[in-house]
Amino acid sequence: MRFDFSGTTPLFRQVAEQLGEAIVAGAFAEGEQVPSTTEISTTYKINPATVLKGMNLLVDQGLLEKRRGLGMFVTSGARRRAGDAKREEFLTARVREFVAEAKRLGIDADELKDIIDKGYAS
């Protein structure tokens, strides 16, 4: 995991994103326990409250579940859900930004489609 401490993305969000990505990548398998709040916070020197906030975000998204007295576990179906969420984010936010930037630079739709087609062909 890598964190951008001077960046503007809140740290708890970065914690959630990094763990989410690790789940998509299969680094933490479904049903498996993820490192504890303390483990993550001491390894990366991040306040435990921040780490917990990030983990709770993943609990809200249904990617992690708390098992009382044991810790946090990857839910079944988490990998697919995390992948879906990433796809969704790409199709809404990222593509919109991309198109807006192309418009700003005076690139029309056909030109953009051409480039995308080329990208897929290669």
Partner: protein
């Protein structure tokens, strides 16, 4: 467990500017960052909290008990600062034992383990250690005493980069094991930004802002773009500018609070601020300015002009 600072003022010399000026704070268990520039009053505040200095007015209460000359409350508060121990103990182990005697016993095993990480043997002669290593011994003692309030005044001064990292990790480990009120004062913010949970900003004896360290992006926003366009947007949204930089027609305006990027028209770039940058803006880069209403963010944070 809570530590409440109630309308605390400290004036060292009659007629001089107060070192602390009506400070109010409530601290719950957590790692708190106390940030301020040189002479902002950080050490004075910690000194009063530990009863090493007497306040001119106001008081500090631990769980409702005034700490002033209160042995019971003071046995629960430990301040680690620049001062050397009253009687230089011969060995590190003796220093740890002495501190334990005053503060209800020390976890000698943890202390020895932590010191070993720094390559310090408890059998070493305290006086033979370098200044940086003596400081490490005092910090380790602070973390291994069973107190409820740990005050660390500029803890990483004189520590090399590897030892600073090590210290931050031990600090978090120690806190995770036993949550309590920990206050870390420093003017080096970038390094501890992610370690602290709450940030308290002190400027010229006054608390100018207290917030969740993770929420710094919601405290101020930077807008960059064409002068006229940015000015029109700032006016239309009723935003409060706190700093403006010009370069030709390109203007960089820092405004108070968060701004939703979706509300911002094309041609204006929006970004947040890191804790360090926010701190610099809050505590005023130019010391020469004295006139009231100079638009320093600290005035606006308080909601009153000085």
């Amino acid at each position: 467990m809570n530590l409440v600072i109630n309308d605390l003022t400290k004036i060292f010399h009659k007629g001089a500017a107060p070192a602390l000026d009506h400070v109010n704070l409530a601290l719950e268990p957590g790692i708190h960052g106390l940030f301020g520039r040189n002479g902002a009053g950080k050490s004075t505040l910690l000194g009063v909290m530990a009863n090493r200095l007497l306040p001119t007015s106001g008081h500090v209460a631990l769980d409702g008990e005034n700490v002033r000359d209160n042995e019971h409350a003071l046995a629960r508060i430990y301040l680690a600062n620049e001062t050397t121990p009253f009687l230089m103990p011969p060995r590190v182990s003796a220093f740890l034992r002495n501190e334990g005697r005053y503060y209800g016993g020390i976890d000698a095993e943890s202390a020895a383990r932590m010191l070993a990480e720094f390559g310090i043997d408890t059998a070493a002669m305290y006086g033979g250690l370098s200044l940086g290593r003596r400081r490490i011994v005092r910090l380790v003692a602070a973390l291994c005493l069973p107190v409820d309030v740990v005050l660390l005044d500029e803890p990483v001064n004189g520590l090399d980069a590897a030892n600073r990292e090590r210290f931050y990790r031990l600090l978090i480990e120690s806190y995770a094991e036993r949550p309590r009120v920990i206050v870390v004062s420093t003017h080096i913010i970038d390094e501890v930004a992610q370690v602290v949970e709450r940030a308290v900003i002190l400027d010229r004896g006054r608390v100018v802002d207290v917030f969740d360290a993770g929420d710094v992006a919601s405290r101020a926003t930077v807008l960059v773009g064409d002068d006229a366009r940015v000015a029109a947007f700032v006016a239309a949204e009723g935003l409060q500018p706190v700093a403006t930089e010009r370069m030709g027609r390109l203007v960089t305006v820092t405004v108070r609070g968060g701004v939703d990027a979706r509300d911002v028209p094309d041609g204006i770039a929006v970004s947040g601020l890191g804790l360090q940058d926010y701190f610099i803006r809050v505590t005023g880069a130019d010391d020469a300015r004295t006139a009231a209403g100079d638009g320093r963010i600290s005035d606006i944070v308080d909601g009153k002009e000085r």
